[in-house]
């Protein structure tokens, strides 16, 4: 693993992640998540559905960075459309693009040389597409990039729940470690397969039907309902 991955996964990297709860704030207000046991279930559900899709998209976008220039844009368009189709609520799509913009701002300032050309190509795209493609320019392997996305996907709602419910932070860290370990084998496998499946995209052949479309509908509903709330702490 390249050391740069650690910087990306550090919660203090200024990419705006502290402001998001990934639907957790609304799940807490609905009562679906109320304690550390239900946080654990929430994470397991999210990683085994949205997590798989995220790992595939990130790994594919990373692979695409090695393709010839003309194919890159078309491939990125195809991946972006695939994410659009899988994030049903408008709120989730908006959040993904907003998160991408904030992440890219931080990454472009951190690695101005490496990301100089990627910036224009990635403007306005979804977070996982941006993360995969940009991290390839930093020399990060597709599987490590996928892990950066998975870590964000798990830690964002976990630490939001920790703040919202006043959970024991040691217990929260234990649950996070367990959730990541539980999904590790599967994430490695889907990221590896996604790199192969993305080959045709890099050769100008569209086709993203292999990307998992199993998502977490309740989280999606929570994301949409969240934006309609009068009082909310988190941006998502």
């Amino acid at each position: 693993m390249q050391p740069v991955v650690m910087l990306l996964c550090d919660g203090r990297f200024p990419s705006g992640s502290y402001a998001y709860s990934a639907g957790m704030e609304h799940s807490v207000s609905w009562g679906d998540v109320a304690d550390i046991a239900t946080v654990r279930e929430h994470l397991a559900g999210r990683l085994s559905t949205t997590g798989i899709m995220a790992a595939q998209v990130v790994a594919a976008a990373s692979k695409l960075a090695a393709a010839p220039a003309p194919q890159r844009a078309a491939g990125l368009d195809a991946l972006d459309t695939a994410v659009d189709a899988r994030l049903a609520p408008a709120a989730a799509r908006d959040t993904s693009r907003e998160q991408a913009r904030r992440w890219l701002r931080a990454a472009s300032a951190t690695w101005p040389e490496a990301l100089r050309t990627a910036g224009d190509l990635l403007a306005g795209r979804h977070f996982w597409v941006v993360l995969g493609f940009a991290t390839a320019a930093l020399g990060i392997e597709p599987q490590d990039a996928a892990w950066a996305a998975i870590y964000d996907l798990a830690s964002t709602p976990l630490w939001a729940a920790s703040r919202l419910l006043g959970l024991d932070p040691f217990e929260s860290a234990h649950v996070l470690a367990g959730a990541l370990a539980h999904i590790a084998v599967e994430i490695h496998a889907v990221a590896r397969e996604a790199v192969l499946a993305a080959e045709p995209l890099g050769n100008g052949i569209a086709g993203t039907e292999w990307i998992s479309s199993i998502v977490a509908p309740l989280s999606d509903l929570a994301a949409q309902a969240h934006l309609e709330r009068e009082e909310r702490l988190f941006a998502s």
Binding site: P14, G16, A19, R105, L233
Partner: protein, 222 residues
């Protein structure tokens, strides 16, 4: 005591085409929103102004400013801070930079953008990646020992405002002691006593802002 802008990291606004930005921080209830409203009312004829608020869990401050009608509603933008108002203004400023850019895109060139922090503690200061100057607002009703307690907002902000001086007799606060404590902690950095609700001291704050803006825009640094 040197101010934060004297640090070697600070090199003035990176892009002079953008609006000049002022952070307004301080504890809950010290009068930040009232100060912002008052500055908008009195300065908007001279400078095109925009406001970014960082409420903790609502858009209350932005809504209040819109209701007061001190600016056009599209000149006021709210940022959500995920329980971490200090993070949004100091450690991870992307959401606020987003808001500033959104505002400038929406209304065109803006002379001054006031960025109000969510009410926070005495350690919450702004990053100079986000603002050109920062004002820290205390109030006498919050306890006249606060200036003595210090913290970076009290000791190193570019301007310290001690608000609600009119309430001092009612809450048993010693304004003179508070001002002398603040001056002792801040050396040559300015302190202005105000009673924002009655307009007292606002002209001095505006005078300071106008001078500082001129200094920032004229030279390579303060």
């Amino acid at each position: 005591m040197s101010r934060l802008t004297d640090s070697p990291q600070y090199c003035g606004p990176a892009d002079r085409d953008r609006a000049w930005r002022v952070g307004i921080g301080g504890p809950v209830g010290s009068g930040k929103t009232a100060l912002v409203a008052s500055l908008c009312e009195r300065m908007k004829a001279t400078f095109p102004i925009g406001v970014v608020t960082n409420d903790i869990f609502t858009t209350e401050d932005a809504d209040t400013l819109r209701r007061m009608g001190v600016l056009d509603p599209d000149r006021i933008v709210a940022v959500r801070t995920g329980c971490c108002p200090h993070t949004a203004i100091r450690d991870d400023i992307g959401a606020n930079l987003d808001a500033v850019e959104q505002l400038e895109r929406a209304v065109g060139p803006v002379g001054v953008i006031l960025i109000e922090s969510g009410g926070d503690n005495l350690t919450a200061t702004f990053s100079y990646g986000l603002v050109d100057r920062q004002i820290f607002v205390l109030d006498v009703a919050g306890g006249d020992d606060v200036a003595r307690k210090g913290g970076p907002g009290v000791t190193r902000s570019d301007l310290l405002v001690v608000n609600k001086v009119d309430l001092a007799p009612l809450v048993g606060a010693d304004v003179d002691r508070m001002l002398s404590d603040a001056k002792a902690a801040r050396g040559t950095l300015p302190v202005i006593p105000t009673a924002v609700r009655h307009g007292q001291g606002i002209d001095r704050v505006i005078g300071w802002l106008v001078d500082e803006r001129r200094r920032t825009l004229a030279g390579p640094g303060p």
